[in-house]
């Protein structure tokens, strides 16, 4: 499966509510030289720009107006655990967890 098959896909919860689009793939690094990457989940939301620029990371604190702006834009981003993914369709990804039970991405971000 290629990354492009996941990124940008619409995500819907069991009730058919739109959770947003996949912005980013979240991995856990393991292995002896830390080159093994396990996909543990997806980041979904409406606006991807802040995430793309790196503002969801803690080490990335820009001029504060930009930090505030981009973090505000990605405030609704949600984290979907890989185990919650039910089906990856050509148009959308269906998940098992209802939208309101998802964690906010900012709370889990590295």
């Amino acid at each position: 499966m290629r990354g492009v098959e996941l990124i940008g896909r619409a995500v819907v919860d069991p009730q058919g509510r739109s959770v947003g689009y996949v912005h980013d793939l979240v991995f856990r690094r393991t292995g002896e030289n830390r080159c093994r990457f396990e996909l543990i989940g997806l980041e979904c939301g409406k606006a991807a720009i802040g995430d793309r620029l790196g503002y969801t990371r803690d080490a990335m604190r820009g001029p504060w107006p930009l930090t505030v702006l981009f973090r505000w834009l990605s405030r609704h981003s949600l984290f979907v655990e890989w185990s919650a993914v039910r089906r990856i369709g050509p148009e959308e990804i269906e998940i098992r967890t209802p939208m309101d039970e998802l964690e906010r991405f900012i709370d889990v971000a590295p």
Binding site: A48, L53, G54, A59, M60, G62, P63, L66
Partner: protein, 409 residues
């Protein structure tokens, strides 16, 4: 001692490297038409250039990343591709304008029609990219570019009214008989001429070419902080030299020949010769720099081997891009479009495109994981944010002003 020499050299290079056909045309045009009332635009643009030039150097030295590595990483493939397209097109136009500019200088010196010179200049630019070592390119042309100090000398010898020059410069206002939009349009063209994106791309990639590391950061910083402002002095003295000679009749400067009149009046033939050497060096260097920056940005986007530090056979795709840009730009000039018109259009479009290159730079300069303790200081971020705001305003104001003034008529 050698260190001091290297720094002096770097600074002098920065002075010469700052000025190109865009600066020459816009500075003289505005000087003859608006006096010093637009000097603030040059000062403002130079301040921004210093701020972001220093940042580009620091990012290149510390994180070992050149401009388009950063752009692609931070903006994502798609937006970065749009950015690449816009920047490459703009640099191509700049390259065309610079090639035309060199051809015009050669026309003035030899009397041979400039269109005959265009392919010769194109070939020269390409040969320089192909063979001349990077350091030689920067140093030789940068130093020769200092000949443009004749404009400052001319200013002393001409019947300059220093008081009113100074007064105009620090109390900017729209001169009588001119409309506000036109005045602002030319302010934008001056800002665009100072901040053309190829300069930052070249500056950051050049840092990688010279294998800058944290050790060299002081030099890089000094070059930016001292070199660019001194380059601004060159631009301003070109602008000011027009005032005593061409301003009284508000001559519309549309030809490079007109720019040399104040020099001839003050310093005669010798001054003219120095002017042409300076013009040639600055504009020719800018032509190579803009061609290289196209190669740099494309190769960095796709992750190819790039740079003059490699033999061409080791970086073949980079050289193919540079070669094709030189051919395309030369071909464009051979259609006999007016080089001065191309220049003005280019600097105005450049003004609109400034934030594209500067925003990702600001973002990365704040990333602790990349920059460690060399991240932007608070005051740098404060100034950079204001500058970014200015750039966005300029970029948004450009299209309507272009329209309203019919490109500055």
């Amino acid at each position: 001692m050698r260190g001091a020499l290297k720094i002096t050299l770097g600074i002098m290079t920065a002075i010469g490297g700052f000025v190109d056909i865009g600066d020459i045309v816009t500075a003289s045009l505005t000087g003859a038409r608006f006096g010093m009332t637009l000097a603030w635009a040059v000062v403002l643009a130079t301040a921004i250039m210093v701020l972001y030039g220093e940042m580009a150097g620091r990012v290149a030295a510390v994180s070992k990343r050149a401009m388009f590595d950063v752009v692609r990483e931070r903006l994502g493939v798609r937006f970065a591709m749009v950015n690449l397209g816009a920047n490459a097109l703009l640099s191509l136009l700049t390259l065309a304008a610079e090639i035309g500019g060199v051809a015009l200088v050669l026309h003035l010196v030899t009397g041979i029609h400039y269109l005959i010179w265009v392919p010769v200049v194109g070939l020269g630019v390409w040969l320089t990219i192909w063979r001349l070592p990077f350091q030689a390119l920067e140093t030789v042309f940068g130093l020769l570019g200092l000949c443009l100090l004749v404009f400052a000398a001319a200013l002393v010898l001409l019947p300059t009214d220093w008081g009113s020059l100074w007064h105009e410069a620090i109390h900017p206002s729209v001169p009588a008989g001119e409309a506000l939009p036109t005045w602002l349009f030319y302010a934008i063209s001056l800002i665009g001429a100072c901040l053309v994106p190829y300069q930052v791309i070249f500056f950051s990639s050049g840092g990688r070419e010279e294998k800058w590391s944290v050790k060299d950061m002081k030099d890089a910083r000094l070059n930016a902080v001292v070199g660019f402002p001194l380059g601004m002095v060159l631009s301003l003295s070109i602008m000011a030299a027009m005032v005593p000679v061409l301003r009284p009749d508000s001559v519309d400067v549309r030809h490079l020949g007109q720019v040399t009149l104040p020099i001839a009046q003050a310093l005669g033939v010798l001054g003219l010769i120095l002017t042409f050497i300076g013009f040639f060096a600055c504009v020719f260097a800018a032509a190579t720099e803009s061609a290289l920056s196209i190669g740099y940005s494309v190769a960095q986007y796709f992750g190819w081997t790039w740079g003059k530090r490699h033999k061409p056979s080791a970086a073949p795709r980079f050289h193919v891009v540079c070669l094709s840009s030189v051919i395309a730009a030369t071909g464009f000039m051979l259609t006999s479009v007016d080089p001065i018109t191309v220049t003005i259009i280019t600097v105005v479009l450049a003004a609109a495109a400034i934030p594209l290159t500067y925003l990702p730079l600001l973002v990365v300069a704040n990333d602790r994981e990349y920059m460690g303790r060399y991240v932007n200081k608070h005051w740098q971020n404060g100034l950079a944010t204001i500058a970014l705001l200015v750039m966005v305003v300029v970029s948004l104001a450009t299209p309507p002003l272009l329209f309203a003034t019919k490109a500055g008529q």
